[in-house]
Symmetry: C2
Subunit: 157 residues, 2 copies
């Protein structure tokens, strides 16, 4: 008998990131979620924004999944990993992705105001940038953007 | 009788940051240290680089002192604080200082290759930057730079 194993599809990881974003909204956090997959297609880490709960403005979903996965792997860099996140990473998280050597970033909504990948300092386009992840932006953009819009509409209501 | 209290001088905090940098070197880490002072001139947090020890490429001295101080103060932002660090902060730490609303950053050596304040993306000069700390660079620059040079010379020896 041959052993077979079904590989989760990339869509699966964006589903997890969306779930984490919705859970963050329920906790009163800005709804951003992330998932990090390893080379074998397995989930290494998942997290939602915890800035308010932890009183830590650096507790973005992306920082959490990168730290968790790197620490789990004993400091091994994440060049063979993909980070899925519902929103374009901010400059802090984009610069961190260079330190962690993340192989690929798949993100949902673009963030013209706070993004640091396709907007603002465009960190991976900087001449001194030491590591540039492959970038896939705008994946399920409308769904990811709707989550954020609904959250901020409720805040203002 | 009037109560008096001696305020520690700013130099005191840079001494602490230097001590943390030297301790980091002894642990085999790139020697960068930081100290964070509050509005009453008291030390809120001190830390050295722990990237190698923790297997966490985001464990820069600056990230640690900002997180520690913010969490200690229940999420209160750090607009009334000064962060002292022996090296110009990288783009990740500079962007984090915006999220934490750090009031002032005093740093030692300039970092033309990896810095993100006076070099590279110059994060606080970005038009979309939401908070710009007051910046004092080049404080005890030679001493801070010597620590780093000696560390890398020993590595290559």
């Amino acid at each position: 008998m041959r052993m077979t194993r079904s590989r989760p599809l990339p869509g699966h990881f964006m589903d997890i990131a969306m779930e984490e974003a919705r859970a963050a909204a329920r906790r009163g956090e800005v709804p951003v979620g992330a998932a990090l997959s390893g080379p074998d297609g397995l989930l290494l880490a998942r997290a939602g924004n915890r800035v308010e709960e932890w009183g830590d403005p650096s507790a973005h979903a992306e920082m959490q999944v990168m730290r968790t996965a790197s620490v789990q792997r004993g400091g091994l860099r994440l060049a063979d990993c993909t980070m899925y996140v519902t929103l374009e990473p901010c400059p802090m998280c984009a610069a961190a992705a260079t330190h962690f050597r993340v192989g690929r970033i798949v993100f949902g909504a673009y963030d013209p105001k706070g993004g640091g990948v396709e907007h603002g300092p465009r960190l991976f386009a900087q001449p001194r940038c030491l590591h540039r992840p492959e970038i896939v932006g705008g994946v399920r953009e409308r769904e990811a953007g709707r989550l954020l819009r609904e959250f901020f509409q409720r805040l203002r209501a």
